[in-house]
């Protein structure tokens, strides 16, 4: 193992997550290990209404009009509490947020029918502000008193991992000392009807890499990671591990389908390994994007088997919590870090029979296994690929 022991390293010191499995990372992780809860209803993984109501009452009233804001504030607060950052640290920290639709719940039922919709001037202005991805997040930054460097990444399903990549570059280049990174996605007509139109939705729980996979499930949720500049002699007591490397690429192939051999994904994962200064053989676990769509899993599977010839364990967990689009990379990074700390490998839920066109070592149950480092991979519409490498020590 040749992770950098000198120079700047990026330590993960706080985590949070909420999704259909629960509104705390501990609840979600417990469900991931036990898989007793079944939040899959009407083809969607949704947060239980009673749990959402608790979240709603905990945020300031001015943010309660949007499901997106409620989930984002709740998840941000939980991550900052986990990191134990005080107000001064929060004020100075960088912030990289990822989302594909933001406050879509505040505009999608009215703006498309303008001018027929009945809106006052102020309501119209408010809807238009919500349609801008950046405007609501700037409001949330002000709420938290954040004044540091900020970016909002909207690169489809790779957005979270791109956000992590950007934060890694900021910290490594000294632009910020610490950075909050995360994402929230909510259900919307636009995404649900849109994925239906592409015939990508499965009526049953998705089965990544399985020969009988037939599509994705949409989920909702949010997750955040608190990152800090670290040095070898300063390992934090609250460390969840280290973000060691990131890789980004573009397929330049098709608007909604990945390059079939996963060439772009290979490039992104290779760059992540290179930046992390590890070889493919030093990766114990590949936490895949694994959507359950035939084309995604085919391309990603090809990329993984091409790059990781030592056949590490492969996991895709979207059959547990659904595909949270831009937020999927963040929440799966959180689950990956929690698993790595426990030396556990999460299973690929509903997986039974490997697609014969793939040669992968797919984990089909919770495995007790030493995990020194894992790679989290993602692919997104527009042919946008991203991967990050986390290590334990």
């Amino acid at each position: 193992m040749s992770f950098s022991t000198t120079g700047v390293r990026v330590e993960v010191v706080g985590l949070s997550a909420l999704c259909s499995l629960g509104v705390s990372k501990e609840r979600i992780f417990h469900q991931a290990l036990n898989d007793h809860l079944d939040p899959f209803r009407n083809g969607l993984f949704s947060i239980a209404p009673e749990e959402f109501d608790v979240l709603k009452t905990s945020v300031p009233e001015r943010f309660r009009a949007s499901r997106f804001d409620i989930m984002t504030i709740s998840a941000m607060e939980a991550a900052l509490a986990d990191a134990q950052w005080d107000d001064a640290k929060i004020q100075d920290c960088g912030f990289v947020f990822a989302t594909t639709t933001g406050e879509v719940d505040r505009w999608e039922s009215v703006l498309p029918s303008f001018p027929e919709c009945d809106l006052s001037a102020s309501e119209l202005s408010s809807c238009i502000q919500s349609q801008s991805l950046g405007h609501p997040i700037q409001e949330l930054r002000r709420h938290f008193g954040m004044k540091g460097r900020f970016a909002l990444v909207a690169s489809s399903c790779s957005a979270s991992l791109q956000a992590l990549a950007l934060a890694l570059l900021w910290i490594k280049s000294g632009k910020v000392h610490r950075c909050l990174v995360g994402s929230t996605e909510i259900h919307s007509d636009l995404t649900r009807l849109g994925f239906e139109s592409l015939r990508l939705i499965s009526k049953s729980k998705c089965r990544p890499f399985d020969v009988n996979r037939d599509g994705i499930n949409l989920g909702e949720g949010g997750a955040f990671l608190c990152l800090e500049r670290s040095s070898p002699e300063e390992r934090s007591q609250k460390s969840w591990g280290y973000l060691e490397g990131a890789g980004l690429s573009s397929d330049a192939f098709h608007p909604t389908a990945p390059q079939p051999e996963g060439l772009g994904s290979i490039k992104a994962m290779s760059q992540a390994l290179q930046m992390a200064k590890v070889t493919a053989e030093e990766i114990d676990w590949v936490y895949a994007h694994g959507t359950g769509s035939p084309s995604n899993d085919q391309a990603e599977g090809c990329a993984i088997q091409s790059l990781f010839r030592h056949r590490p364990w492969i996991t895709g967990t979207k059959g547990l919590h659904g595909h949270m689009l831009g937020a999927s990379g963040a929440i799966e990074s959180v689950l990956g870090l929690m698993s790595m700390r426990e030396n556990l490998i999460l299973p690929t839920y509903q997986f039974e029979t490997l697609d014969p066109k793939l040669e992968l070592n797919v984990a089909d149950r919770v495995l007790k296994n030493s995990v020194r480092a894992f790679i989290k991979n993602s692919l997104g519409f527009g042919g946008i690929n991203a991967a990050v490498v986390f290590s334990r020590e």
Binding site: V153, L166, L248, H254
Partner: protein, 206 residues
């Protein structure tokens, strides 16, 4: 805010500005573009054409060496609204409108048209979108020798004046694509490229 003439150089001393191009929406007739543009929105077409102009000016630079940052305040708003409106009126979901509705659709189309396979990222950040894109471009120069930034938004129809009223900074971005190419100082000489004054960016970063 610091004076903008110093802003670009303050962002990263290792970055050099190599080219700027703009394309106006009025210049584009979607019906007259080549067949590969037949499913494109106006913002996709403007972005791809604008970036294509930059690439034509640097034929010696391998496309594998170029990353791309796409900046859009409101994304593919026409396709998003069109998809939902059409469904509500007809009960029919039109996949092409959804495919073109993502904030990231513009970037995806542009990378396909220009065959760029480096890091590619879509950014949206309210009134700071342009500045954040330039900052991200300079961040990506740590892992890519060249980075192209393209800013593009298209808001047409009855909502236009309301968008312009709500976002007072937006006039200069609407119905326009503007692209910048940045290169790492250490590779400029290798490709015998000329550089532009960073103050050329000021009008876009205010």
């Amino acid at each position: 805010m610091p004076p903008l003439s110093s802003l670009a150089s303050e962002i990263s001393p290792m970055a050099s500005l190599i080219a700027i191009e703009t394309v106006e929406g009025d210049e584009i007739d979607l019906n007259k573009l080549e067949p590969s543009f037949r499913k494109a929105t106006l913002s996709m077409a403007m972005t791809a054409i604008c970036c294509g102009k930059i690439l034509e000016s640097i034929p010696s630079v391998p496309k594998t060496d170029i990353a791309m940052v796409m900046g859009s305040h409101f994304g593919e708003m026409e396709s998003s609204f069109g998809f939902l409106k059409y469904f509500r009126e007809s009960g029919i979901q039109r996949p092409i409108l959804f495919q073109n509705s993502l904030h990231n659709s513009t970037l995806g189309f542009a990378t396909i048209q220009t065959a760029l396979v480096g890091p590619a990222m879509t950014i949206s950040n309210d009134r700071d979108t342009a500045r954040t894109c330039v900052e991200c471009a300079h961040d990506l120069l740590l892992i890519s020798p060249f980075v192209m930034v393209c800013l593009c938004d298209v808001i047409r129809g009855p909502l236009t004046e309301h968008y312009l009223t709500t976002f007072d900074f937006f006039h200069k971005f609407n119905n326009r694509a503007v692209a910048f190419l940045f290169g790492r100082s250490d590779v400029i000489a290798k490709f015998d490229l000329k550089t532009l004054a960073t103050s050329s960016l000021d009008v876009w970063l205010t």
